[in-house]
Symmetry: C2
Subunit: 396 residues, 2 copies
């Protein structure tokens, strides 16, 4: 391995587009289902034995993959999703990029894609955001964000099922304009008995393509029935795991009278180690310790049904850095103000019965959900300083 | 749906390459890990609302996918693998194409890709084979085959996890020259406790990319330890399911003295409904009914250990239409004569102990394995007429 070139952000070459796009209007995007990407992307290719090429910042465009590329047959693909935020002070910021780059490295390993130094990837992500920020997230869009998508795919022409010998790492940015959408708590439908998202011994903890496409049938059925997302249950016990592609939190009063904020644990590797999830846990443990116990632990849908019957459910929310909560219908259903990362859950439908969960007025976040969302939003949008946040200098 | 254009093979347009490749020599391919494809491919694109485009036969080449194409993020991809055989009478044949096209349709539905008439796909497959056969599988290569790979991918630029609104169906042909490889029974390593290939409620029965990439880590570990493939176990009971990407058969003497040929069942949707698997079952039920009971049923690794201790294991084989049994090491490990579809299993290693299984001399197929392989091979290579086989007329 010693002769393999490492991924090295200092070798980045930049070729700027001579054909810049116009930033689409809100109206143009509202009913369109296509994701529009910004003018540039960063790519770096890898070959077994040689290692990583010098990264290139270049115009966004087609990849030139052969139809026999291994990513198109065997799901050799993993990704990350993170955001760049335009602060109310006009500055551009990112949130815990190091968490995403480290998870990306883990995901790559799980799907037999090559390794790299995550700090180099972080530099490349910040570079692309610094190039695109002023045009695609201008200072007059304070409180808005861009969606950044690092991706890795197997690119070798290979119809045998074997470890990829060529790969491409790339970073693109999706343009997601601020859209005013209905506020209100989201409603979840529990997963059907014959559909399981992930399983012990599988790969539910890795952000690999193989976790997403197969889950869409169930999500579409939930939407057809008028719900926003699936609440994925696991096992005959019906353990609550994830809500769609987001982590799922419940605040309740335990039978011993103690208030507890709980979410599914990581140790059985069923769920994604979400950056927003971790941040919620850490903040709540630090700032709410006098009033709430914060736990990562198993709990079942029956636990929630029982608590609802006894009026012990206090709040619930989904946490994640999705593009949006639901794009399937062409709508962008971001909570409140399109800065969706913490969304109140108002109802869970399970086998013919509703579990109702309190929210604030009009389905807005109730007390604790709102506090946590506020703390995170303050960091992201520059209203509060915190070590989790990095200011991104901008190319003028 | 009424205004959607169906997939229609009669609308095929043909554009032949003006830049034909030279057929690579055996030596050039032997140590190369890349799959070389033939000169042409067939493609048809689909859009929600519009349906299928007229299929095109055209030169093999890059697809022009955007980096935001949904197949590269969410594993919207499914495929089939089947072969075109050059008979000893000089004729070109395919085997049960209708089984593959119907399974492809099922896989597409599981991964939220569009539907089509499988008979139209069959016509397109046979057309491409008829165009490529005389050059890439010439009459002097009797007993050899080409590997045909129908594929479908989601192509819309979409970073939200939602049903694809654009897709591409394509057919390519991998050139896999006859290679003389060591004969001998294959050795399997049972899957580790912390790795599960598929699960009840998952998608192990569909030929989707999401089943393959995630299994490669375990396969690589098996190869590193000197085995040929993983034998995937399921559940605490250790039910035997698949051997790598192949179906797994055991012939044993039951405790009641009856000879039984058994393979895992389809009803829990853990395994692929293999075309070779089904053909083995049907032929054995028809032609060996006086001597052997053929069952699709659950059996455990402990059942096999006990039977080995009591000398009741008679034969075992893997059945499938893979490119090759193992390309990970750069070797093409086809059984016997590179016409791999039935491969004897000589040993299973489970948690530190070997289970040895009889084979014929030098690890060649023993009696029953050899009979079944012979019957199938006779059909594929034109030594026996059968309704499962279709002669492909050739473009001169």
């Amino acid at each position: 391995m010693a002769d393999q070139q490492p991924l090295d952000a200092s070798k980045l070459t930049c070729t700027y587009t001579s054909n810049p796009q116009e930033v689409p209007s809100k109206a143009a995007l509202r009913n369109g289902s296509e994701t529009i990407c910004t003018d540039h992307m960063i790519t770096a290719s890898w070959k077994a034995g040689a290692g990583w090429s010098a990264p290139e910042l270049k115009p966004f465009g087609p990849l030139g993959l052969l139809p026999s590329a291994s990513c198109l047959h065997y799901a050799y693909e993993c990704f990350e999703g993170l955001k760049a935020y335009r602060g109310e002070d006009g500055k551009l910021r990112m949130f815990r990029t190091d968490r995403n780059t480290r998870r990306f490295l883990m995901s790559a390993g799980r799907i037999s894609l090559p390794q790299f130094d995550p700090d180099e990837l972080e530099k490349l992500i910040h570079k692309l955001v610094s190039v695109e920020g002023s045009k695609w997230l201008p200072q007059d869009r304070a409180g808005d964000f861009l969606y950044v998508r690092p991706t890795m795919i197997g690119t070798d022409s290979q119809l045998g099922v074997t470890t990829p010998r060529e790969a491409l790492l790339y970073i693109i940015i999706g343009y997601t304009p601020r859209v005013d959408t209905p506020v209100g708590g989201k409603r979840l439908l529990t997963s059907p008995d014959d559909m399981v998202r992930s399983w012990v011994g599988g790969f539910g903890y890795a952000k690999v393509g193989a976790n997403y496409g197969p889950s869409v049938l169930a999500n579409q059925e939930a939407i057809r029935q008028g719900y926003h997302q699936i609440l994925w249950l696991y096992g005959t016990e019906g353990f609550c795991t994830e809500a769609g592609g987001s982590n799922f939190f419940v605040l309740w009063k335990r039978k011993d009278g103690k208030k507890e904020l709980m979410t599914a644990p990581l140790d059985d590797q069923l769920i994604l180690d979400g950056v927003t999830r971790r941040s919620c846990i850490e903040l709540a443990r630090e700032r709410l310790k006098d009033e709430i116990e914060v736990t990562e632990r198993k709990f079942t849908i029956e636990d929630l049904q029982e608590a609802a019957a006894e009026n012990r459910l206090i709040e619930s929310f989904a946490a994640g850095t999705a593009v949006s909560f639901d794009t399937s219908s062409g709508m962008i259903l971001d909570a409140d103000d399109s800065k969706w990362f913490i969304t109140p859950i108002s109802q869970i439908h399970h086998r013919g019965k509703d579990i109702n969960i309190p929210t604030g007025p009009d389905g807005r976040p109730a007390e604790i959900t709102g506090k946590i969302k506020g703390w995170l939003g303050d960091m992201m949008y520059g209203r509060a300083q915190h070590e989790w946040v990095t200011e991104i200098p901008e190319k003028s």
